[in-house]
């Protein structure tokens, strides 16, 4: 008590230990683990950083499956700055992935996002800071979907290749005597046909995974129901539903489990149909009508 009393009075006469941070900038320590910067022209797209990132703050979105074009995206607000991606990067020494010594400034609701090319495509594309984490959620789903598409595309390609090989072998066996030129033309035709089917499957990739409900090309009698009466369906979702071919309460009321799965995958985020009880609501509304 007495010692602290003296210490208090001593502190009163001494200069405070406080640093004047916002007014006088405090020194950035050397080798501080800060933001990850990326250089696209050095990247070999090995995806190692994406695999290793513990929170999943680095994602590669495949924008063009046919030509295998990937876009690097990074969320510095989700990053835990653990240095794992830089450790694993084979081109880190050349500066493909670099950990800077500073961190980004805090992100206010209305402040502009850091527009730096080295932060990847996500930060460059997003304009508003509000609800950034939800945008990242949506982006994550999109990137996962793009990866599924890529896998599907690859599987399709492999299957086609095998089919083509098989066809070729059979053709070889059957018509040994036939002219070679003719054979080639035939193969080309099959491949061309396959390319067409490929693009078709790419358009609606999830069709295979789950059953589609009954869809219409246009509303019955040319008059559609106001789907926004169902709680949980906003105008935006209604637009999506209309685009897919759902115009009436009846359609929603008739959904089965598999249809719900389809809706989860194609319309809104998972579980929403069940949680918000769209089907029950649709039935009620139908009864009211």
């Amino acid at each position: 008590m007495v010692k602290m009393f003296i210490e208090s009075l001593k502190n009163l006469t001494q200069k405070p230990a406080t640093i004047g941070y916002p007014h006088t900038p405090s020194p950035s320590p050397k080798d501080y683990r800060g933001t990850i910067y990326y250089q696209e022209d050095l990247c070999i797209f090995c995806d190692l950083c994406e695999d290793v990132c513990p929170p999943g703050a680095i994602l590669f979105e495949i924008t063009n499956a046919a030509e295998n074009i990937r876009e690097y995206s990074y969320n510095p607000y989700l990053c835990i700055y653990c240095h794992a991606c830089v450790d694993v990067c084979p081109k880190a020494d050349e500066g493909c992935l670099v950990q800077a010594e500073t961190r980004l400034a805090p992100l206010g609701r209305d402040s502009t996002l850091p527009q730096d090319v080295k932060l990847g495509y996500f930060m460059a594309k997003v304009t508003e800071a509000k609800n950034l984490d939800r945008k990242w959620d949506a982006f994550e789903a999109r990137a996962a979907q793009s990866r599924d598409e890529m896998a599907e595309f690859k599987a399709e390609k492999k299957r086609l290749k095998q089919a083509a090989m098989k066809a070729k072998k059979e053709a070889d066996a059957k018509t040994k005597a036939e002219a070679e030129a003719k054979e080639e033309v035939q193969a080309e035709i099959t491949i061309e046909n396959n390319v067409e089917t490929k693009t078709e499957t790419k358009k609606e990739p999830t069709k295979i995974a789950s059953a589609m409900p009954q869809l219409l090309t246009e509303p019955k009698d040319g008059k559609k129901d106001d789907l926004t009466q169902i709680k949980g369906i906003a105008e935006k979702i209604e637009l999506i539903l209309n685009e897919k071919g759902i115009y009436h309460f009846q359609q929603i009321a008739l959904w089965t489990e598999e249809n719900i799965k389809w809706a989860d995958e194609n319309i809104s985020f998972v579980g929403r149909v069940k949680r918000e009880k769209w089907i029950e609501q649709a039935k009620e509304l139908l009864a009211k009508k």
Partner: protein, 278 residues
């Protein structure tokens, strides 16, 4: 005229004292601390908050605390009787505790109980201080005390020590910040107040500073310089004690007040009375 002005500006003076306190406290902890006008910034901020109350009686009691503390100050300055001012101060504390008892928060109820123990601890000493003033100067009027020939401090050294001992209890300073106990019951009686209603309680506390340091000032008698010096010295002493002690239990506070401070004051008054008779 001076008295009216002093009463009117009591919250402002108290606010300044609180501001100085926070700066000095921060410096003693080797920090820079908030600006001097910080209490007034808090004041403006709290006024701009949305009024949110538990129930109207609770909010009303907070305002009664503020008004009756200010009224005690006014009585002290205008009604010219120290004893009545002391009783009005008791009423203000009772209003606060009644308000705190009227809500269902356990922290608030606990804080109110502790606040009552505070009252039981320091109020006898303050009454003894007032009685001692009467014995020295023959009046309950502060103007008579301030124009007395003698410096009361010289005749009442033990009473002064007793008063200094009670100041931490009255102002909720460590080691006797038991009713406030930020780490235990988070403000105690004030916990459920918010926005403008907390404002009333917050400002009422500032007036208590003026109230108690005015009592200290009276020990200077007609010599205002000694009075001012006493206030500054006591203020720094209270700050240093606040910064060098841990919070004690309420039982220890009660023992300290009744076994040490009150006997101290009584002994002083006793000898004073003996000396006066002979």
């Amino acid at each position: 005229m001076m008295a009216i002005l002093f009463t009117l500006f009591a919250p402002i003076i108290g606010g300044f004292m609180y501001g100085i306190e926070r700066v000095v406290k921060a410096r003693m902890q080797s920090r820079i601390g908030p600006p001097l006008l910080q209490p007034f910034y808090d004041f403006v901020k709290l006024m701009e908050k949305r009024p949110m109350m538990v129930h109207s009686f609770h909010a009303f009691m907070g305002i009664v605390f503020f008004i009756s503390t200010w009224f005690a100050m006014a009585v002290l300055m205008l009604g010219n009787d120290l004893l009545i001012a002391v009783f009005f101060h008791i009423i203000s504390i009772l209003a606060l505790t009644i308000g705190a008892f009227s809500v269902r928060s356990s922290y608030s109820i606990m804080g109110a109980m502790r606040e009552l123990i505070h009252l039981v601890s320091y109020e006898p000493v303050i009454i003894l201080v007032v009685v001692a003033f009467y014995l020295v100067t023959g009046s309950f009027d502060y103007r008579m005390i301030l124009s007395a020939d003698t410096i009361p401090l010289l005749k009442l050294p033990l009473v002064f020590i007793a008063l200094v001992g009670t100041i931490p209890m009255l102002l909720h300073k460590s080691p006797f910040d038991i009713a406030e106990a930020h780490q235990e019951i988070i403000g105690g009686p004030d916990i459920e107040y918010s926005g403008p209603f907390y404002e009333a309680v917050y400002t009422g506390r500032w007036i208590e500073y003026v109230y108690v340091f005015f009592l200290v000032f009276l020990f200077g008698g007609s010599n205002y310089f000694v009075g001012g010096l006493l206030v500054v010295f006591t203020f720094l002493l209270i700050m240093a004690i606040d910064n060098s002690t841990a919070r004690l239990d309420y039982r220890k506070m009660l023992k300290f007040a009744w076994f040490i401070l009150i006997p101290l004051a009584i002994v002083n008054i006793f000898f004073l009375a003996l000396g006066g008779n002979s």
